[in-house]
Symmetry: C2
């Protein structure tokens, strides 16, 4: 059975990616990070999802300085979609410096240790927040760097990095999740990390838009409404 | 004053790199990693060196699984230079998967947080142990990846990664260190991490060869002899 590492935050996209990798028949180890994110409750979702697919799980504490991002600094407000900063740079304050670079680097480490040939990551460059480390050109460059900087790479067995959702709209991701029987109620997207989704942050808006366009009900929303 | 991150293990090469960056006039933050290496005493050297140049210091604990490498697994023996495995792959068992990839990724994170324009790393591809993540082609690929995957990169202010010792022989590194007044007695190279250098591991051999060829005495050796 081929081994794979799945980067699993516990959000919608990484959950769909996990179920996709499972469907492909991989022996999966999920990597989940506690990096001081204000919505740390997403890691609880990650635990639940890992259990449900009977995968192995590694949870890593990664020290991001709290001032890295509005996502790790609870003293700041989360940005609204139209904020001035986003208009200027295209990148919101929820950007966490080098986040996917660090996460993928750890995935490479674990892939080499357990001899996994693939790393799955749920990044998406269509309905996304404008983070540079979610784009195909970044992932291509990371893959090339990894092939040059690792033993597996220079031995001709470079780890493959798969981003099956890269070019999907959020609605397509929701539809794929439905097809793969992803338990949406056990995924968590909201940046605020309260008891229910805030329905205001960028992540909530993208999620709600996806479910609406797909014509599928979000069980998290229904729970809130109920 | 321009800011820089220096990756400082506490070994000879990173110490010389630190003093080189200092000479260049940077406001320096040293990043040192405790990754379960058997020669963890090198981090004590890193602390001392950081104090001596009056730099800021961040020490990060990074969870490398102990089975990653003979450098993190004290139940294995350290390889001798001529071991069968090295002959076969060119890479010794002291290789730690994705080590410099993870270290440089953290350096990128801190560079973005403190707005440092440069990262210094003491890698060397001449008198080295054959690690793939110490070669110029790797560093070039890492730089390209970083430019695409970070806010600084896409904003046209990509962090520069400098490896001033990349093409130097160990003797040239020793000579440069001497010129820069690096306190060699406060550097640590031996993989064993005992009270004195073992003088047998690959790292000890490379160091001893460098001092010998440079015609300079290694104060650590003299301490041992004394």
């Amino acid at each position: 059975m081929k081994k794979a590492i799945v980067l699993l935050s516990g959000g919608l996209d990484s959950a769909v990616t996990l179920f996709y990798a499972k469907k492909r028949g991989f022996d999966i180890t999920c990597l989940t990070f506690d990096y001081g994110q204000r919505h740390r409750r997403e890691t609880q979702s990650a635990k639940k999802l890992t259990e449900l697919v009977k995968a192995k799980q590694v949870i890593l504490k990664v020290a991001f300085p709290s001032e890295s991002s509005s996502l790790t600094n609870t003293k700041t407000n989360l940005p609204q979609r139209q904020s001035l900063e986003i208009k200027k740079t295209g990148i919101p304050s929820t950007y966490v410096p080098a986040r996917n670079i660090i996460f993928l680097s750890y995935a490479l480490l674990y892939a080499e240790v357990i001899k996994a040939g693939s790393i799955f990551i749920g990044v998406n460059s269509i309905d996304y927040s404008g983070y540079p480390d979610c784009r195909p050109e970044f992932l291509k460059a990371f893959t090339e760097m990894a092939a040059l900087g690792t033993k597996s790479g220079v031995s001709g067995k470079a780890v493959k990095i798969e981003a099956p959702l890269m070019m999907s709209s959020k609605a397509e991701i929701v539809k794929l999740g439905k097809k793969l029987n992803v338990p949406f109620e056990h995924t968590w997207s909201c940046y605020e990390g309260g008891r229910y989704p805030c329905c205001k942050c960028d992540s909530c808006r993208l999620r709600a838009g996806g479910f609406k366009e797909a014509g599928i009900g979000d069980p998290l929303e229904e729970k809130r409404a109920g």
